[in-house]
């Protein structure tokens, strides 16, 4: 009796297992094209460049070299300069941009602001503007005899024109200005979207209870946007550490003056395409970026974790 009951049921279950197997095969077949593309164009290059980073040599003449590339990093003044520059851009620019984007989002979210739609579009527009067009424009505006210098001199802020493109310090400032101009609106849109989801009566309750506007921003808006702030900070960190376009376009690909704006990405590009190609070493520098991004993202997640 017990057998006759258990037999058909076990038969059914093995049939079920076979069915599950063929279903999962179907699933793999459907995802195969995508997986193949990801494998060829993403996984393979990543692994290949990891292997490459242990090879040294000029052009195609590559020989296994163990950790010599990593040793070379420490003795390469341009690499160290690029590392310092990239870190400087990241440390200075990301906080400025995040705070600016938050403040702008806070202001644009106010009911009392007129023409909010216009400002929102105007602030967002730079990140969809053509990179080349805006670089040309920036170079013109910040030229020694450009509109920025003449304005600064006209209002008496400076006596002499600033060498935006020739002075090592101001060249860095220019790069920071350029990427801030381009990406602040992009981050702001995330904050605006998140702010739409916050119950308005939270702010009304705070207003009635006498919480001043700055405290509503600092103690209500910022904590409630924390997940979005974390997200945009990581995105911006990654973007800044991989910074390439702006510097390349503003300095004709040289990272000048005197390597004062060279970034890791630009250095990788130069190692590969501008100087005598050094693929192995370039791959090693790339992995420096990978490690930096991983470590910084981890630190940011750690700092923003929910302590409760």
């Amino acid at each position: 009796m017990a057998l006759s009951v258990s037999e058909p049921s076990s038969g059914r279950s093995s049939q079920g297992r076979a069915g599950a197997r063929s279903a999962s095969l179907n699933g793999w077949l459907f995802t195969a094209p995508a997986l193949a593309l990801i494998g060829i164009f993403l996984v393979y290059p990543i692994l290949r460049s990891l292997v490459l980073s242990f090879y040294a040599g000029k052009g195609m003449m590559l020989k296994p070299a163990g950790f010599s590339n990593i040793v070379r990093l420490w003795n390469d003044p341009i690499f160290l300069k690029a590392l310092v520059n990239t870190t400087t851009f990241f440390v200075v620019q990301v906080p400025i941009m995040i705070v600016l984007a938050l403040l702008l989002a806070g202001m644009l979210n106010s009911d009392r602001l007129r023409f909010a739609g216009f400002f929102r579009t105007a602030i967002f527009l730079p990140c969809v503007a053509s990179l080349v067009a805006y670089s040309v424009l920036f170079k013109g505006m910040f030229a020694v005899d450009g509109v920025v210098n003449s304005t600064l001199m006209a209002i008496g802020l400076v006596d002499q024109p600033i060498g935006w493109l020739t002075d090592p310090f101001w060249a860095k400032v220019l790069v920071i200005l350029a990427i801030t101009w381009r990406w602040t609106g992009y981050n702001m849109i995330f904050y605006l979207a998140a702010l739409q989801n916050i119950d308005k009566s939270i702010y009304e309750a705070a207003r009635i209870d006498g919480v001043p506007a700055w405290a509503r921003f600092l103690h209500l808006t910022v904590p409630m946007l924390k997940p979005v702030i974390l997200f945009t900070t990581i995105i911006s960190t990654i973007g800044t550490i991989q910074l390439f376009d702006e510097v390349y376009n503003l300095t004709e690909g040289r990272g000048g003056p005197a390597d004062s704006t060279i970034t890791l990405s630009l250095y990788i590009y130069n190692l590969t395409f501008r100087y005598m190609p050094s693929f192995g070493y370039a791959a090693t520098v790339s992995y420096v970026i990978v490690v930096m991004v991983a470590v910084l993202s981890f630190l940011q997640f750690y700092a923003a974790r929910d302590k409760a």
């Binding site: 309750a205 705070a206 009635i208």
Partner: protein
């Protein structure tokens, strides 16, 4: 405790008139309920008192002081929102104490007030929890606690119970009534639920389309509504309305005929003058005033029942097609299709003119 006075208060949003001239006197310590259908302007009126909306015209005084242009935080009010509006990232303790910091209050005083509010509202075991770890009723109590710690002169509530389930709603209703007894603060409470209004209010303000329809004590509104709208809004189930005409003017009464019951003449006692013969009228009789048999009675065919156990609501149609509800305590024997001789006491019937205004 403070009195609140509205004089010819209006609110327009662009071209939309939302509050169309409201005059209202609220005495210190009174529990006033604004009630009316959704969209009639209750919240807008409350938010004008709170200072969250500008007053387009008219004056608002709280405690004798004109408040039209005073900042919300300086009006001596505290408000509880329908959505609770708790700060999601703060604990219950922080939620209640947060705003006090900005009033220049020292830490010990804040702690003392939070503690005392927590005790009154039985929130002590929950002080370290965040709002997402609380039930709806607990969140509501935190929102009330956040209002209490401010020691306001006037409490404003905007539909505070409408996000709670039925049982909790009854419980919180009792809590709020108890709190008002304890704190003796002026309360202005907005709801669309007439049961809440009837049970909580010292004074009910019935609003319709931005205008006050009637102001009065709950039972006064029930017994003596000024018009058909108030009669329909106060009391559940809804009052039955029959159409008809005046057939004769009697001393201290009007003799009427109801459509569909042409053979019957009903004599409705009045304190004032009866309307002229032939005038179109509406006769309102509350479901609980219709009984089986009685002096004046109308034959009503019953087509559906709701047995609540103690009480039975019988739904039927008058011969002229109006839906009639009879509420009775001994209706278990009633059957569908049966014709009920629904009797009533004519002195409890309410007479209205064709426009819905009461004829007393």
């Amino acid at each position: 405790m403070a009195d609140v006075r509205l004089q010819a208060v209006r609110k327009t949003f662009g071209v939309l008139d939302v509050i169309k001239g409201v005059d209202l006197d609220i005495r210190a310590g009174e529990f006033v309920v604004f009630v009316g259908p959704s969209g009639c302007g209750k919240s807008t009126l409350l938010r004008m008192i709170a200072g969250l909306e500008d007053i387009s015209e008219g004056t608002l005084t709280i405690g004798g002081q004109t408040m039209n242009d005073v900042d919300p935080s300086q009006r001596g009010i505290a408000m509880v929102f329908q959505s609770y509006a708790l700060y999601p990232h703060m604990t219950v303790r922080e939620n209640m104490g947060f705003a006090l910091r900005f009033a220049g209050m020292d830490k010990q005083e804040i702690a003392r007030r939070v503690q005392s509010a927590a005790r009154i509202l039985e929130l002590e075991p929950l002080l370290e929890r965040k709002p997402k770890a609380l039930s709806g009723g607990q969140r509501q109590r935190v929102a009330i606690g956040r209002a209490i710690v401010r020691n306001p002169k006037v409490f404003l509530f905007d539909e505070p119970l409408s996000n709670l389930d039925a049982e909790l709603r009854v419980h919180m209703r009792v809590e709020i009534a108890r709190l008002h007894k304890e704190l003796k603060t002026t309360v202005i409470y907005v709801t669309h639920d007439q049961v809440e209004a009837m049970t909580l209010a010292d004074k009910i303000v019935v609003l319709r389309a931005g205008q006050v329809e009637q102001v009065g004590a709950p039972l006064d509104l029930y017994d003596d509504p000024a018009n058909l709208f108030v009669a329909g809004f106060i009391g559940a189930p809804r009052i039955n309305v029959f159409t008809g005409q005046v057939t004769a003017r009697l001393p201290g009464a009007a003799e009427v005929r109801l459509d569909g019951f042409a053979e019957r003449r009903l004599v409705i006692p009045l304190t004032g003058e009866a309307p002229a013969e032939g005038t179109e009228i509406r006769l309102g009789i509350r479901p609980e005033h219709l009984t089986e048999g009685g002096a004046e009675s109308l034959p009503i065919e019953i087509d559906m029942f709701e047995h609540l156990g103690g009480e039975t609501f019988a739904y039927g149609r008058s011969r002229s097609g109006e839906t009639i509800i009879v509420s009775t305590r001994n209706g278990r024997h009633l059957k569908a299709g049966q014709v009920l001789a629904a009797g009533f006491d004519a002195s409890k019937a309410l007479l209205f003119d064709a426009a819905g205004l009461r004829i007393r």
